[in-house]
């Protein structure tokens, strides 16, 4: 008995009860479609986040004040980090060779006002490199001037939303605004950018880093971003930066992370999430399996006489088993294919509706869903098929 013969015979049996067959088939299809669609959503989330972070550039290091490991010292004795100052940033600039860029960042909330129009926004104190890293371009006017980090000019670049709110479509460049208590000249307005990693990049203003620290009256930076050429060893650069700062502070009280490590840990978290979603969807597949088992049990009891005939014309127990197993597997795999198509189609529709969200079924999930549905047929088909195979031929022929 060839697989082709088996499949052909199984198909004739299934086609005889189209409604019943299609119900079971749809059960499997829904399960598989759920696996495909949910894993696609999970995978989409992973890609979305990864893509968002990748726009930050992968050869970046971030130096944060504080050590994110326990120091082991007694409370109150050490462990309080020293400020990460502008001088530290300049020391890094001098101490690390072939630094592509350095972008110290101070950050806070301030009121920005144009006469009576005011708006509470995020104020970033940074450098022109910061704007470059985040691919923030000026739509009109100029970006922050290059120069020494500690030069705190009274200049500001407005986000698009801020400019609209404060100047209502009038040209903002060259005008004066107040940021907190400080009067600043607007030198540029950023192009619209939308949200990046959940942060509205249009509703902020950017000032030189030293200006920012003066506005906030702080000596500590929020962080320092270092950029090195693509060929550099990021980890080595990290150690170098930490060593420089440790020497300056007298203790190791900064943390250096690479953008890559952030992305990869987020990515692995979301992969686990995808697996979990797939697992939940797989529960519905097992329900579909019970449906197949039910269908096959009914089929076997209806076709008792046929089983008797199969045995009379010389089908062995194993061949009878194969006949009924083939039916279960056929239903399951047809359902699997249908579900794959359904899941894929629904994801296509989702992508059409929300082009930003890169939902896509990971190939492993599609393959696994199909493989699982075939196994489903095999597992849930075994019991009914065994029942058929072990029928007594004489009794079966008599329909008993």
């Amino acid at each position: 008995m060839t697989p082709g013969d088996l499949a052909a015979f199984a198909l004739t049996a299934l086609l005889r009860h189209r409604l019943r067959t299609s119900m079971s088939l749809i059960g499997v299809a829904i399960g598989v479609a759920a696996v495909v669609a949910l894993t696609a959503l999970g995978e989409g989330a992973r890609r979305y986040v990864t893509a968002q972070f990748s726009t930050l550039g992968s050869s970046l290091l971030v130096i944060l004040p504080g050590k994110n490991e326990t120091t082991g010292s007694f409370p109150g004795m050490g462990g309080v980090p020293n400020d990460l100052t502008l001088d530290d940033a300049m020391a890094l600039q001098r101490g690390i060779p072939k630094l592509d860029l350095i972008s110290p960042l101070s950050m806070g909330n301030e009121t920005v006002s144009n006469r009576e129009r005011r708006r509470q926004v995020v104020v970033l104190g940074s450098t022109r490199e910061f704007l470059e890293i985040h691919q923030l371009e000026v739509a009109t006017g100029h970006t922050l001037p290059a120069g020494e980090l500690d030069r705190g000019a009274q200049l500001v670049v407005l986000g698009a939303t801020v400019a609209d709110e404060l100047f209502e479509g009038e040209p903002a460049v060259g005008r004066a605004v107040r940021v907190g208590d400080w009067r600043m000249r607007v030198i540029g307005v950023l192009a619209r950018r939308g949200e990046q990693v959940g942060f509205d990049m249009d509703d902020l203003v950017v000032v030189p880093v030293a200006t920012g620290m003066r506005i906030f009256n702080r000596t500590s930076l929020f962080r320092v971003v270092l950029g090195v050429g693509a060929h550099h060893d990021l980890d080595a650069t990290c150690s170098r930066a930490v060593a420089i700062l440790t020497e300056r502070h007298g203790e190791e009280d900064v943390t250096c992370i690479t953008q890559e490590s952030v992305v990869s840990s987020l990515s692995s978290i979301l992969t686990v999430l995808t697996l979990a979603l797939g697992g939940i969807a797989a529960v519905s597949l097992s329900v579909a399996g019970v449906g197949i088992m039910n269908l096959m049990l009914v089929s076997v009891s209806e076709r008792t006489r046929e089983v008797g005939l199969l045995k009379a014309i010389g089908a062995g127990n194993r061949q009878v088993l194969a006949v009924f197993l083939a039916e279960a597997i056929l239903i399951a795999s047809m359902g699997g294919l249908l579900g794959l198509t359904l899941g894929w189609a629904s994801i296509r529709i989702l992508v059409l509706l929300y082009p930003v969200f890169p939902a896509s079924t990971p190939p492993w999930a599609a393959a696994a869903a199909l493989a699982v549905s075939v196994c489903l047929g095999a597992i849930f088909g075994v019991l009914p098929a065994r029942r058929a195979a072990h029928l007594d031929p004489v009794a079966a022929l008599a329909g008993r």
Binding site: A312, I313, N317, L397
Partner: protein, 241 residues
């Protein structure tokens, strides 16, 4: 050659033992034509099932071509059924969703006969029963007599040694019954051992010999020579062994 020696087939029925076959011994030569007659429940069908390896004797030996079938595994028995036995049933037992051709081809699928050869053999088998024109009709589109002829084609397509027919004309009118018997006898003339269970004396009289069964025993053996075309004559009963 079929040799039965002291064969019993016993069922437990409501705590009682029922002897469907009770010490049956019989030898049937290859190519013979045997009718098995007797009242309902006399063990005719059980005898046929044992001969066709669908059922095993509870006791006693059944030798088929010298081999003890009692020692065969289930798989061995199904191989015997596949290659050496053809069954014809009272209710035809065709698979309703398959057409005549597919029904006839069915046993060859389990025997692993290649597709091309199958087609030739199906065509030949249908020609033998005179139904080559009906190859693509489903059972529901065929008359009873035609359905039984399809069943005979199916039973012979594997070229078995013996053809076992259980009331083959039981569900047919007399004229299609006659056609079916002629087809079966044609197979016998071509060398097949033909064993027909019937309770129709006229049909039994066509056989080379007849076995009368009662309560699981063969109580009477008749040869056609002794009948001279008349009804099954009483023969002296075998001495009980």
């Amino acid at each position: 050659m079929i040799e039965l020696e002291g064969v019993y087939r016993t069922y437990a029925m409501g705590g009682q033992l029922l002897h469907a076959l009770n010490d049956v011994s019989e030898t049937i030569e290859a190519g013979d034509y045997v009718a098995v007659v007797g009242p309902s429940g006399s063990g005719k069908s059980t005898l046929l099932n044992v001969l066709g390896c669908l059922d095993r004797p509870s006791r006693g030996t059944y030798r088929l071509n010298g081999e003890d079938v009692g020692s065969f595994s289930d798989e061995d028995l199904s191989r015997v059924r596949r290659h050496q036995v053809g069954f014809v049933f009272q209710s035809f037992h065709l698979i309703p969703r398959l057409d005549a051709e597919e029904n006839v081809a069915f046993p060859m699928i389990f025997a692993g006969v290649p597709r091309a050869e199958r087609r030739e053999r199906v065509a030949a088998a249908l020609r033998m029963v005179g139904l080559q024109e009906r190859a693509h009709h489903r059972p529901a589109e065929l008359s009873g007599g035609e359905q039984q002829r399809v069943a005979i084609a199916r039973a012979t397509v594997m070229r078995p040694q013996m053809l076992l027919a259980d009331e083959p004309t039981g569900n047919l009118d007399s004229s299609s019954g006659r056609t079916v018997m002629e087809v079966l006898e044609g197979m016998n003339a071509a060398g097949l051992t033909l064993i027909v269970v019937t309770h129709d004396p006229a049909m039994a009289s066509r056989a080379r010999r007849a076995l009368r069964m009662e309560d699981g025993r063969i109580v009477q053996r008749t040869r056609r020579g002794e009948l001279r075309g008349g009804p099954v004559a009483a023969a002296p009963p075998e001495p009980a062994s």
